[in-house]
Each structure stands twice: as structure tokens, then as C-alpha cells.
Amino acid sequence: MLLLGTLLHAKQISRSPFELAIAMIVPIVQATLAVYLFRSGAEQHRLLEAAVGAGVMGVWSSVLFGSGGAIQNQRWQGTLEMIMLAPRRPVLVILPITVATGVTGAYSLLATLAWGRLLYGIRLDFVHPAAFVVAAVVCVLALGMFGLLLASTFVLLRNANALANTLEYPIWLVSGMLVPITVLPAWTAPIAAVLPTTWGARALREATTGGPVWPSVGICLAISLVCLILGGFALTYVERRARATATLALA
């Protein structure tokens, strides 16, 4: 059920003209940003690493806005009541949606690499190509689980959209997607350590440039599982509250 649900939700999301335009245009901006940032730092050899980092930014943006608004989107479509009526735990109903936002975010990762190759001639020489694929899959799944926590908590907030906007750039920065964590102030380190985005980005970077990929992959998955459990409890509470306050439907 999780697999079919994820595939069909990814299909539904990726057929939106708006999502398609975002998936096509934003990666060009991200690839350009990455390339010029690193060229100006005279670090030509790190262009691929920069492109991968920029691609992960795309996955994060997709999960943040897609998962953060997942429940609200279902409500607007009028499908929330129908999916919550299923005789399943709420976590099993919502997880495919949030993982699907990660899957569609993976378009950005691929497109950023493709644009980087086409426009800027970045060579796709991964040190561990197989590990890169595994890390990318884990990163998408992990962000989907993190997205479940976002989905269940954002729905409780009146101004979730405003919060999503303010979270986008700080998480990029703190997770070290574009600039190394080591150049950031020391107080950001504990925040970075508990974010699955940090470990996902790190695993992909290590697979790209060389390094111990699997510990980062493992930590990324472990943190995401904690998010999944917390999100699961939060969703059960949210569902009960929505039934009490009559907020499953729009009307």
C-alpha cells in the first residue's frame, strides 16, 4: 500500500503544471548559484559537490512545502475525509504523500545535475556511484519521514505557510547543503546534528567526493525513523482533534 500510494501521489503531484515548472526552472537557478559560488571561490574541483548540494536543496524545498502543506492540500482537494475514512492508521495514510513529495523533489536533484552538465560542463564523476544512488534513495525516504513530522505539526499551526517560508533557507544553511557546516557558528552544530537533512546531504557529498558514506546514511535513517514515530503519534492526535473540531472537510 505504501509503495502504490507513494507512486500515485508522486504522479498526482508531478502532473501539476506549477510543480512541473518549478521542477524545470528552479534547478537551473540552483545549478547556476552553485557553480558561480564555487567558481568565485576558485574551487573548480568542487563543482560537482556544489551541484549535488544544490540538488538536495531542491529535495528539501519540495518536502518542506509539499509535506508541510500535505494535509491542507488534501483538505482543499476534498480528499482528506475519504483517505482518513480508510481503516488504517493515519500514519500509513499520510506517509505515502510525504514520501511522494521527496520523490518529486528528486526530480530537482536529477535536473540540477543535468543542467550542471549541459550548461556548465560539470563532469559527473562520482567516487562511489552505487553508494550515491543508495544515499539518494535513503535521502528521499528520510526526508519523506521528516516530512510526515512537518505535516502533522504544521497542520496544528494557523500560519504554517509563513513558518515554511522562514524554514527553507535556514535549513539549507544549517544542514551544510551548500556551504560546509564547519564555516558556520558553533551554536548551529547541535541543530545540524539532529536534522536528517544534514546527514542526507553529507552522505551524498561523501558518495560524490569520497568518504565514509554508510555511517551518514545510517544516522540519517535513524533520525528519520524517530521523526516517523513522533509524526505517527502527532497524526493520531491531529486526526482525533480534527474529528472533534470538524476540520477534516472545508465546509
Binding site: K11, G78, T79, M82, M84
Partner: protein, 325 residues
């Protein structure tokens, strides 16, 4: 099922609480359902009839677990709708009117596949079940098209197929024929009647009297959050026994004339239905009093069309019940 009743509602109440304003928040309370009790035996086709805002949808949503009652209890298939949610959900299907509630950018088939998984239809049975339902709702051949290209009637039929995927014991139909053309509505009624004939318990809400009259074994008329009358269509129709109905087609009936008609001796109900420029004035009176002459006198100066005197129908009984609420 365990219980002889498919649905049991006991003193169900639901109050909606809202808050508006920021600096000076104002709290509002609306009592949508005010103590509703009824039972539906297995296999019965039970209708909930009432005007907009009467509490029909709220009642259905409490019974199908989407809303928690403010007070009172309800059981479906012997399971409590608050405490045994998953047990209830396994046994019910829910179809509502309108064209929302589907994944627009997916095909009809993808929608059905997704909900079949979600509602726990065994993987081996899915293909056959979906094919059966597509046939039942006449969507065979169109199932691979995206829902965004479907007409309203097709969407409604897809809603019904989705509601039946897991062969529910109890089917909640909330105004399923709203916005559906007459031919599709007739098909829909046939499908609902077949389901009931095959043992599915159906709880149907509708505005359409003919639909309720044709389909329902029993009808509860709800108004103002309470059940005002409950019985078979024939029993409800008898509420208007001893009455006569005069219908007058008119153009531009003044409110003063309607008030005057209401005060005529023997007149029990008056109603005006707007049909474009035409107004259909319906006056119910005691059968032994001939009010037609009086009505025409009161409407002197008003342009009139056809005037007709007839026996009361279920709709007249319904109007009488709702107006008395």
C-alpha cells in the same frame, strides 16, 4: 454483524464551536444536531430528508466516524463510532455528492486502485472488483482517462464505485444525485435499489422527494437538528391526509397576498417556488374547504397561468412537517 441493527443512534448531538476576530475574539456556537435517535435494521434503505442546514450531513458524519458527537452514542454494525473507529470504517462506504474528493490528475482507474489499497481490498481481488464496479457505473472504457476530463455525472459514478470497492455492509450516501442529469440520476437510483436488494444497508440523504419516495423503506424528516417525523413514505404521506392542494402558476405575487392567503379559513400551508420569472404558489388546505375561489380573489390583478387542484403528495407532507418544525 452481531447486532440486529446496522445503525443505532441514541440522542446524538453535535455543536459546532467557532471563534472569529483576533483582538476581541468572539465565540460562536451552532447546534447542528439536537438529540437524534433512530435505528436502521440490516438491509433497510433508510432516508434522511430535510432542508439545507437541517443536520443531515452532520448526522451522517457522526455515524461514519468523521465527526465525534458532542454527546449521545451511535453504533454501526454493533461497533461504537467513537471507540471502535477502525471496526466501523471496515464496514462502511461513504459517497457524497458534488465533484470534489477525487484525485483530478490521476485516471479513474488509478483512483480506484489507490482507494482499493487504502480500504484493504485484497490485492488478488482488486482487479476483478474494479472491473465489476466500472461496469456497474458504466465507466468501462473511460477508466484510463484523467478525472479532470470527466463530466460531473462521471465523477459522481466514480465516487459510487469508490464507495463500493470493499463491499461495505453499510453505505452512506450523502446527496449522491446532486447536480446529476435526470438519466444518470435514474441509473443511480437503480444501482442504489439493487444494492439494497442484495442486502446492503443504505442510509441516504436527499433533497429530492421523488428519489426518497421511490427508494426508501423508511424516511426520517429532519429539520432544525431534530427528527420531526419518521415512517414509511406511505405513513408520511398520510400526514397530509384530509388536505387538498391548489397550485397556481403566477408572475409577481406580492408578499401581502401570500400573507393574506395564509390567513384564509381552512388554509394549512402556503409555499412559493421561484421558477425563473414564473412562481409556483402551493396552498394546502383542509379537504372539505374549497379555497380555490378565495385564492383567485386574493390574487386579483396578478398575472396567472395554470391553476390546478390535486391530492397531496409526499412532498406536500414533507413541506407540512418541515413548516411545523
Amino acid at each position: 454483524m452481531g447486532s440486529e441493527y446496522a445503525i443505532e443512534a441514541d440522542q446524538l448531538r453535535r455543536t459546532y464551536r467557532g471563534r472569529s476576530g483576533w483582538l476581541r475574539p468572539r465565540r460562536t456556537e451552532v447546534e447542528a444536531v439536537r438529540g437524534i435517535s433512530f435505528t436502521v435494521p440490516r438491509g433497510e434503505l433508510f432516508g434522511l430528508l430535510g432542508p439545507n442546514g437541517a443536520g443531515k450531513t452532520t448526522t451522517i458524519k457522526m455515524l461514519n466516524t468523521l465527526l465525534i458527537p458532542t454527546s449521545g452514542t451511535a453504533r454501526v454494525g454493533g461497533h461504537d463510532v467513537v471507540g471502535q473507529t477502525r471496526e466501523v470504517r471496515r464496514r462502511i462506504g461513504y459517497v457524497f455528492g458534488g465533484d470534489r474528493g477525487l484525485y483530478e490528475r490521476l485516471s479513474g482507474l488509478d483512483n480506484l486502485r489507490y482507494f482499493a489499497e487504502l480500504y484493504g481490498v485484497p490485492p488478488r481481488a482488486q482487479k476483478r472488483r474494479i472491473a465489476e464496479l466500472l461496469e456497474l457505473v458504466s465507466l468501462t472504457g473511460r477508466e484510463r482517462e484523467r478525472v479532470e476530463g470527466y463530466s460531473r455525472g462521471m465523477r459522481q459514478r466514480l465516487h459510487i464505485a469508490r464507495g463500493l470497492l470493499h463491499s461495505p455492509e453499510v453505505l452512506f450516501l450523502d446527496e449522491p444525485s446532486i447536480g446529476v442529469d435526470p438519466v444518470a440520476a435514474r441509473e443511480l437510483r437503480r444501482t442504489v435499489a439493487d444494492l439494497a436488494a442484495n442486502g446492503t444497508t443504505v442510509l441516504l440523504t436527499t433533497h429530492y422527494m421523488a428519489e426518497a419516495d421511490e427508494l426508501c423503506d423508511r424516511i426520517a424528516v429532519i429539520a432544525d437538528g431534530r427528527i420531526q417525523a419518521l415512517g414509511t413514505p406511505a405513513e408520511l404521506r398520510r400526514r397530509a391526509d384530509g388536505r387538498r392542494v391548489v397550485e397556481v402558476e403566477a408572475y409577481g405575487v406580492p408578499e401581502t397576498a401570500v400573507s393574506a392567503l395564509r390567513d384564509l379559513p381552512g388554509v394549512r400551508e402556503t409555499a412559493i417556488e421561484e421558477r425563473g420569472a414564473l412562481q409556483l404558489l402551493t396552498v394546502q388546505s383542509d379537504a372539505h374547504v374549497d379555497v380555490q375561489g378565495e385564492i383567485l380573489r386574493e390574487l386579483a390583478g396578478v398575472r396567472l397561468g395554470r391553476v390546478n387542484s390535486r391530492e397531496p403528495t409526499l412532498e406536500d407532507a414533507y413541506v407540512a412537517i418541515v413548516n411545523a418544525a
